[in-house]
């Protein structure tokens, strides 16, 4: 595997990436204090990340009754479906065993 050209290329890419990370750390660490624009971009990025997180989703969910009802229905359907799937799997396994005998 190690001698295959595509794998060599992959190793080169991964190795180079780590040199890029080290350079990025050094550049960022030694760079002057961030400008106001950079800080604003970072803050808005973090806000976007928060909206996408579980906390942000649950916050938006609090005001959405339709979505809340949909999730309740989905949760109610999921458990019987899982049980049915389990029983069907068990049934198939037992039937196969019978066929072998």
């Amino acid at each position: 595997m190690m001698q295959k050209p595509w794998f060599k290329t992959f190793i080169w890419i991964i190795s180079t990436a780590f040199f890029f990370f080290a350079s990025a750390i050094i550049i960022s660490y030694l760079s002057p204090e961030p400008s106001e624009q950079q800080i604003m971009k970072f803050m808005s990025g973090m806000m976007d990340a928060m909206h996408g997180s579980l906390m942000g989703l649950s916050m938006s969910l609090e005001h959405d009754t339709e979505l809340k009802a949909l999730i309740d229905t989905a949760a109610a359907v999921t458990i019987p479906l899982v049980l049915l799937g389990f029983l069907f799997g068990l049934f198939m396994k037992l039937r196969r065993k019978k066929d072998v005998k």
């Binding site: 595997m1 190793i11 990025a24 960022s28």
Partner: protein, 167 residues
């Protein structure tokens, strides 16, 4: 083609770790956001999902090491990410610190900011140490980067050629 378990885990873990490092570095602070063009929502999502994969791969590896220890298997797994000594032990310790501090950041985010700050500090500084150590690891294993030499194709066996030359 036979591919070994430790080889697969090594490279899967490498891919996951490199993507975690990339997404994590972009979130360190305002000075670091340029790494991913301040796309922090995507970085955060990637970091969370891959962290779960990272934890699963690490636990599979630890489980395999424990299984080997129970079976008294002393065979050295050259590609394995964790082990009893050297860089493998270093990886085991740093990985566990990453997982513990990551879990503290994740769990205590809404409750204990002091714990989150401390865990974030350790998580960040450890990343710098580990990235430097990976570069050292690449340097040590740089023979893996050497491209295989092309085989010279000969139509007739060498001995026949020598005989022909002698005549």
């Amino acid at each position: 083609m036979k591919v070994k378990f430790d080889f697969v885990i090594h490279w899967l873990w490498t891919i996951v770790f490199s993507l975690l490092a990339l997404s994590g570095l972009a979130m360190v602070g305002a000075k670091y956001g340029w790494i991913l063009q301040y796309e922090l929502a995507k970085a955060d999502y990637t970091h969370r999902v891959l962290a779960a994969v990272f934890v699963i791969l690490t636990f599979i590896s630890i489980g395999y090491e424990v299984y080997r220890a129970l079976k008294s298997d002393e065979k050295k797994l050259t590609w394995f990410i964790i082990g009893k000594g050297g860089y493998q032990l270093f990886t085991l310790i740093t990985t566990l610190i990453f997982i513990i501090t990551g879990a503290i950041i994740w769990v205590c985010m809404d409750t204990n900011m002091a714990a989150v700050s401390f865990a974030l500090y350790i998580h960040e500084k450890l990343t710098y140490v580990v990235v430097a150590s990976v570069i050292w690891h690449i340097y040590q294993k740089c023979h893996a980067l050497v491209w295989p030499a092309k085989k010279q194709e000969t139509k007739e066996p060498r001995i026949m050629k020598k005989l022909a030359d002698a005549e």
